[in-house]
Symmetry: C2
Subunit: 262 residues, 2 copies
Amino acid sequence: MSSKTVDKALSILDAFTVETPTWGLRELSRQIDMNHTIVHRILTTFEDKGYLYCNPETKKYELGIKFIELNNVVEEHLNISSIIQPIMKEIALKTGESVVLTILNEEEGVFVKIVESEQKVRFAESVGKRSSLYIGASHKVILAYLPLEIQHSIVDEGVAHSAKHIKSKETFLRHLERVREQGWCYSEGETFDDVAACSVPLFDNKYQILGSLSIAGPKYRLSQEQSEEKLPILQEHVKKLNAILGKVNFPSRRNFLTKKFI
Amino acid sequence: MSSKTVDKALSILDAFTVETPTWGLRELSRQIDMNHTIVHRILTTFEDKGYLYCNPETKKYELGIKFIELNNVVEEHLNISSIIQPIMKEIALKTGESVVLTILNEEEGVFVKIVESEQKVRFAESVGKRSSLYIGASHKVILAYLPLEIQHSIVDEGVAHSAKHIKSKETFLRHLERVREQGWCYSEGETFDDVAACSVPLFDNKYQILGSLSIAGPKYRLSQEQSEEKLPILQEHVKKLNAILGKVNFPSRRNFLTKKFI
DNA sequence: AATCAGTGGTTCGATTATAGAACCAAGGAG
DNA sequence: CTCCTTGGTTCTATAATCGAACCACTGATT
């Protein structure tokens, strides 16, 4: 039993993305197929509450400062800034590459925190970016620890989207099996061209997969060999991180993980 | 005309703060004085939509990963990561201190972005923190450019809260006047003990005050003299920033600025 | 200048989702 | 076992929402 009005309101919020960060009233109501009166009432409510900002000149709506505040609440609660970030920073200093924290959420991976290396050429910022689990070391290493049935359905998706790095379902599933066996994953140019990454898994207190930690940098500096040299640094610090993550409990919806046991 | 249901839903969201990041159902409904049925329906709606996460063990609710994503939308839209951050980084490198972007919002100031210096002792992270305009250089320099009537009411508030750095309303208003004349503000130990800051104002395309940019560091390294030496660096780069901010249009509610003209 | 199509915003009665008391089942504490 | 609390559900009177029709305005097009 859930509130129809709030449900609609959140669907409206969902329309504000990196690709389409601003919306006019009529434009938005067309997009989500709602009567413009409803959209108007909800938009002004969001505006009154400081969640949306309506540009008085263009009359277009956009997400407000409120979300910077709420992001802070999440980060503080997860101890990202005070505990997790320092560990990531140390890895970044020792490896000389950017460090990425990815969290499993709703059958997708979200970049939750990126600590950049001090090098001139480095992994670009994309915090908050959400994408499918079949692409990129940071995501594939998570996929490798999911139940086989989930792996199948997600790999099927990848095949359906004809992802360039998937030759066939079978070879990709075997690839995931190897990743799980060796406990890390390397990839080149999957999520971003010219970027390579090396990732290890993160687990919660029940030893269920929670996300991954990766080092990422330009291909020419992070070949498979070079990243295998840096792997021990990553693995060593991840031990510390896993000890912390066992207690923290990320707000990461992973219902599908337990579904099969019910 | 605004939606009562959505309004309630957002009031519920507002209860999730850095101080109280998790809530049980009954506990929360007591806090905000709402029937627990309503709260329950709204909470599950938020949960279904990925905005809240309900810890299955403790049955307590907390903000979800969604807010990290939405924060990213705001930052991307404001060009914070790609345009503003590099400028802040340059100031941080040249001055050796942390750089803070503060935005005026609803008669308060919000720390929107902090670029940390590379020094060991540095300004702690507090992105998203919101506070009154009468305290701290970053906030006072904003206050100094607001209409006098607003200044009066906000300073009255400060006096009412018996802020330690306000001796009397009159002297504080004269202090603000000097700040506006010289175009910058220095403070020591107001927002955080042991932290000093030096701030300059930021304006939008209509030359209305939008926020401030500050360098912040430990008192012993950032005396008034030392910060006046670094001031030219700050001012030089802020010229660039103001040229950009004139076009960007921050989602910063500042209705009270124009109210008096209507 | 008149028309038209678009915009954001408002009104008001019919409709429908919501409010909230009363209700479970479960889990401590005594 | 009782008492109190918890999260969660049910049901109907009631109150909020829905949405067609409406303004006022802007900017092309004729």
